[in-house]
């Protein structure tokens, strides 16, 4: 497949990907660093390159509410937000998932207030981790674009029918011009395909009820059906990713394994800091240190069995969280990973790093590797450590 090499910001790349899905409706409210993405999309519409109906609402709560109404009516629908915008959507984020509406959302990861900060961390996404969405994370503009193409196929698959959020790091990816390969419009459309809603709100031939009162009689059964969708989602995510690999040559799964085959030491993380770690891992590999990286792509559904399989037998594992869980046992990714590793007898420790966009640099990655070496040699380290902060 002939693909065009372009330099685009992450926001522009995702706007293109969404346009290629020919969505019927987009409802959004601007918030930094997501604004540029919807700005680009609005350009497509204004220039006649997209026939998407843009609903410009007065808040993110309304954006998600409009997306829910639109998706329930049978329209392919997306939205996008960041940080406090996602927080304001809170109650309706759950409703989108409960109604099994395959809405796609770009979540351009940004710290939550206060104090006010516009830069990247993952606390926005983590706040919604139990809401019933599929969470895909991206390392760079290429992965943001690719995830935003695949998201539709995953969300709309009849075994899944769950909303999907495509996460990419605010500014670090959203506002950085990066080289990426883009599919031609017709190839992307052929891959994504037309959306066939199973039920629509406005079909008198097949009347349905959406969002009724659901008390002690059936609520639990409906939640059980959501849990069941999560059971089926991993196989569909892999199937869609494999088809995407056939088309593009870019292979995706639940995670990317970087120099992991013979690695004694493993770093586990999400998002853009993976690239920085890869450069430093190469430096340590040249010195003979057997270190590798596991970059998670799907945080929900969380691939626990896969992690247990991959992390078993290692000498030391560490988990890097770009968000804190105040009063919890480490960051969300650490808690999930350590739980997945139950019984493996592999030492695991965690870091909190990069809050509010604090630069994750080459030195921090080197510190992480050197600490892994110490732990593998029998040294002690706290469960939770802070990285790159003034103490």
């Amino acid at each position: 497949m002939e693909q065009k090499l372009v330099a685009l910001s992450g926001n522009e790349a995702v706007a293109y990907a969404f346009k290629q899905a020919r969505p019927h409706v987009a409802a959004a409210f601007p918030i930094t660093p997501q604004t540029e993405m919807m700005h680009k999309y609005a350009d497509f519409v204004a220039n006649g390159e997209s026939s998407t109906e843009m609903i410009l609402v007065e808040s993110e709560h309304s954006a998600m509410s409009a997306a829910i109404g639109s998706a329930a009516a049978g329209a392919r629908t997306f939205t996008a937000t960041s940080s406090a915008g996602f927080a304001l959507m809170w109650e309706v984020v759950y409703i989108a998932a409960s109604l099994r509406l395959p809405i796609c959302m770009a979540l351009v990861n940004r710290a939550l207030s206060g104090n006010i900060n516009i830069h990247c961390d993952h606390s926005d996404s983590m706040g919604g981790r139990d809401a019933g969405w599929i969470h895909l994370f991206s390392e760079n503009a290429q992965e943001s674009y690719d995830n935003a193409i695949m998201a539709w196929r995953i969300a709309e698959h009849m075994d899944v029918r769950l909303p999907v959020m495509v996460n990419y790091d605010g500014f670090i990816i959203s506002h950085t011009a990066d080289a990426l390969y883009m599919l031609p419009d017709d190839a992307a459309w052929k891959f994504i395909g037309k959306y066939n809603p199973a039920y629509t709100l406005l079909n008198p031939e097949k009347p349905i009820t959406v969002g009724p009162l659901d008390l002690t009689d059936y609520y639990f059964e409906h939640k059980t059906s959501q849990l069941a969708a999560y059971e089926k989602a991993p196989a569909i995510i892999q199937q869609v990713s494999d088809e995407f690999a056939e088309l593009t040559g870019r292979r995706y799964g639940f995670a990317e394994e970087y120099r992991l085959d013979d690695a004694d030491l493993v770093m586990v993380l999400l998002g853009s800091s993976a690239g920085t770690c890869k450069d430093v891992i190469d430096q340590y590999r040249e010195k003979g240190v057997k270190v590798g990286l596991l970059k998670l792509r799907t945080f929900r559904p969380f691939p626990a069995a896969y992690l247990a399989k991959v992390l078993g037998g290692r000498k030391a594992v560490c988990v890097l969280d770009r968000s804190a869980s105040f009063g919890g046992q480490g960051g969300p990714l650490f808690m999930e990973t350590r739980s997945a590793m139950y019984g493996l007898q592999v030492p695991v420790h965690g870091y909190i790093y990069g809050l509010g966009g604090r630069d994750f640099d080459l030195r921090q990655a080197a510190t992480v590797i050197e600490n892994l070496q110490k732990v593998a040699a029998g040294g002690e380290l706290k469960d939770i450590n802070l990285l790159g902060v003034r103490l």
Binding site: A7, A177, A179, S272, S273, D279, D282, D359, F360, L362
Partner: protein, 193 residues
């Protein structure tokens, strides 16, 4: 693998076009089969406030997504930043760093101000050139033209072709011609120590 990577740090004031230049160079090198990454440092964005931009260029895909701490090239769009320690123009630099400064001062005078031992300093009156060619004191594109005189990332013709692509849909022919002339002049008028 990292391969050979050129790392450029841009120092400017809001409104001088450093963000555009940092991202434009990253895009323009794609035509040469190279990979580029360009990004600004976002803070309180306002006209006149000191800001930094970053560009990486490499023969292989660029994976790291951190700030540039040890730039090979430092480009200063506003010479008043040389007097501001907070701007950090010399931070992380070494004797191998190339400085490219928009000023009417001589490279020797700038070198003295920078106080970096053995620094390779080049100067160009990018603001003057911009005023005469574009008609506005926006020194970003002349500085890109001057950059090509200190590093052969692209030929001037390749850059100009990328510039036409970039500006083509947004600006009038007069503005495009002004920018092309600015690139040419700055490339030729660079003064080296």
């Amino acid at each position: 693998m990292s391969g050979k990577m050129v790392e450029i740090r841009w120092h400017a004031r809001g409104g001088q076009g450093a963000k555009t230049a940092a991202m434009f160079v990253a895009e323009a090198v794609l035509t040469k089969g190279k990979f580029g990454q360009g990004f600004p440092e976002y803070g309180p964005e306002r006209r006149g406030a000191p800001m930094r931009g970053f560009t990486r260029i490499s023969d292989v895909p660029i994976r790291r997504h951190c700030m540039i701490e040890n730039p090979g090239i430092v480009i200063v769009l506003d010479s008043s930043l040389l007097d501001s320690p907070a701007a950090g123009v010399t931070a992380g630099t070494s004797k191998d760093t190339v400085f490219l400064v928009n000023t009417t001062d001589s490279p020797a005078a700038v070198a003295k101000k920078l106080n970096v031992k053995g620094a390779k300093v080049h100067t160009v009156d990018a603001t003057g050139i911009a005023l005469e060619t574009i008609g506005r004191p926006i020194p970003n594109m002349p500085m890109v033209g001057a950059l090509l005189a200190v590093d052969d990332l692209l030929t001037v013709e390749e850059l100009k072709s990328a510039l036409v692509d970039q500006l083509g849909s947004k600006f009038s022919q007069v503005v495009i011609d002004g920018n092309l002339a600015a690139v040419d002049r700055a490339n030729k008028e660079l003064v080296s120590a």
